[in-house]
């Protein structure tokens, strides 16, 4: 068990209450970031997947930008959704294997908060880079340069919701052999509203129209996710660890 996990467990005993929790959350976040950067190859994978998937469409549909522009919003979001899903499998897996997750559950710190910290890290490592990569993909699919800033914002907000929704499925399928397809089956139905509103916002932005309404709905989904998903995911983690 790493020293960080031990510190988190100790923090729970020394200082119960919100002060300890904030430190614990910060420690979890920093630990996850540190561990992730030790394996940069794994970090790149979802991004590479995103890039490859978006490349498939010009090859399969048509190289003409005018035709690609019509499907660009949908392609972007489906690719982002699938890339996010790919990264979700490892959200809890490594910590479950080496016992760290169990320490988190026993630490006396609110598991909901620690799970939220892990999910936030997941977004920082997957969602945020996807949001920054999306403009490049959008350009390759014929998006006008003026819309690129809007695309970053939409994908950024949408991936927050995706990470949160996905954390629930990841928690429930912990330890199941070859859980990839099941995780997708559980996560995709709940992610469809994000897909719908995100694609709509991107489409409006590409046309130069106001995309505020769907963006607000995306934001509402993200906020709803922040309040409810960590609770459900923490419950799922406890159930999976029993």
């Amino acid at each position: 068990m790493s020293s960080h996990a031990a510190t988190i467990a100790a923090a729970g005993h020394i200082a119960p209450g919100t002060a300890g929790a904030a430190d614990a959350g910060r420690l979890v976040l920093l630990r996850d970031l540190k561990l992730a950067f030790r394996r940069p190859g794994q970090l790149i994978q979802p991004l590479a997947f995103f890039a490859i998937v978006t490349t498939l469409f010009p090859l399969a549909v048509s190289p003409e930008l005018s035709r690609l522009r019509a499907v660009a919003p949908g392609v972007l979001w489906v690719a982002a959704l699938l890339a996010s899903l790919l990264a979700l499998e490892s959200l809890f897996r490594d910590d479950a294997y080496d016992g760290t997750l169990e320490q988190y559950a026993l630490s006396g710190q609110p598991l909901t908060w620690l799970v939220f910290a892990k999910t936030a890290t997941h977004w920082l490592l997957t969602g945020l880079p996807l949001a920054l990569l999306a403009p490049l993909a959008a350009l390759s699919l014929g998006a006008p340069p003026q819309s690129l800033g809007a695309i970053v914002i939409c994908v950024g907000v949408g991936t927050v919701a995706l990470s949160l929704i996905g954390s629930v499925g990841a928690a429930l399928t912990l330890g199941i052999r070859r859980s990839g397809v099941l995780l997708a089956l559980l996560t995709l139905p709940l992610s469809l509203p994000v897909l719908i509103f995100g694609a709509r916002a991107t489409e409006l932005a590409m046309r130069g129209e106001s995309f505020v309404a769907p963006l607000e709905l995306l934001g509402a989904l993200a906020v709803l996710g922040v309040t409810l998903a960590p609770l459900a995911a923490a419950a799922g983690v406890r159930i999976s660890l029993e």
Partner: protein, 245 residues
């Protein structure tokens, strides 16, 4: 308030005996009311002014759609009870609901498609209600998939219970989608506050069919619940007596 009935429902042998006694009642009542509803739907109700005889599809589409939502809500409620009070029987109820709900969601989508084809000119439309009903089907399948993937029965119960509760947010979305968004699907005519917007001769068979299918679900649930309880309780002492009769 006397909670004894609630605690008694936590006892598998009690529930098994109760289910066995009630099943014939629900079975026969649902069969008879389905026949009555069919008679009303096909022979009594007048044809619609705009939709002609095609409107009669509503007498199977509305009940199946109602089933898909009602069964999921029952499943989620039972799952929540199972999670909160750690009641095995509640988890057994939830498990029994899923296949029934999934099959009727499929029927709702199929009959809806058959209804939409002549009326809207399209077999499918990605509008909010149809899309969220499709999501409901995926939720049922995900629930059954998750249950099937976990070997430990207790863990399977509790993990799928969390999933059922999380997914219940889809149910109000389906119901209110036609009022919140501009939808191809018509607004609620029956399940809303205030008077239903349908004449009596058309409404009566619809209500009878809705009742018939609800009773049918109860009968199915009672039969499946008995099977679940037998499989879960394995070698409990009360079982041999029950099997002999």
């Amino acid at each position: 308030m006397n909670w004894r009935w609630f605690h008694r429902l936590g006892s598998p042998p009690y529930v098994y005996a109760l289910a066995r006694r009630l099943t014939p009642w629900f079975g026969w009542l649902s069969g008879l009311s389905m026949l009555a509803g069919l008679y009303g739907a096909l022979l009594v109700a007048p044809a619609d002014y705009q939709q002609g005889e095609g409107f009669r599809i509503i007498y199977v589409h509305a009940p199946t759609a109602w089933m898909s939502l009602m069964v999921y809500t029952t499943m989620a409620a039972a799952a929540a009870v199972g999670l909160i009070w750690r009641m095995k029987v509640a988890h057994a109820v939830a498990a029994s609901c899923a296949p029934v709900g999934a099959s009727f969601t499929f029927a709702a989508l199929a009959t809806g498609s058959l209804y939409g084809a002549p009326m809207w000119g399209t077999w499918w439309q990605w509008d909010p209600r149809l899309t969220s009903e499709l999501i409901l089907l995926f939720l049922y399948l995900g629930y059954m998939g998750l249950r099937g993937s976990i070997d430990d029965p207790q863990r399977a119960d509790r993990a799928s219970a969390v999933l059922a509760v999380v997914g219940v947010v889809n149910v109000p979305i389906i119901h209110y989608s036609v009022t919140w968004w501009n939808s191809l699907h018509q607004a609620p005519t029956v399940m809303r506050f205030g008077k239903p917007a349908m004449p009596g001769s058309m409404l009566a068979p619809l209500l009878i069919m809705l009742l018939a299918f609800t009773l049918f679900f109860a009968a199915l649930l009672l039969v499946r619940l008995r099977a679940e309880i037998l499989n879960r309780e394995r070698t409990a002492s009360w079982i041999p007596e029950v099997l002999k009769s």
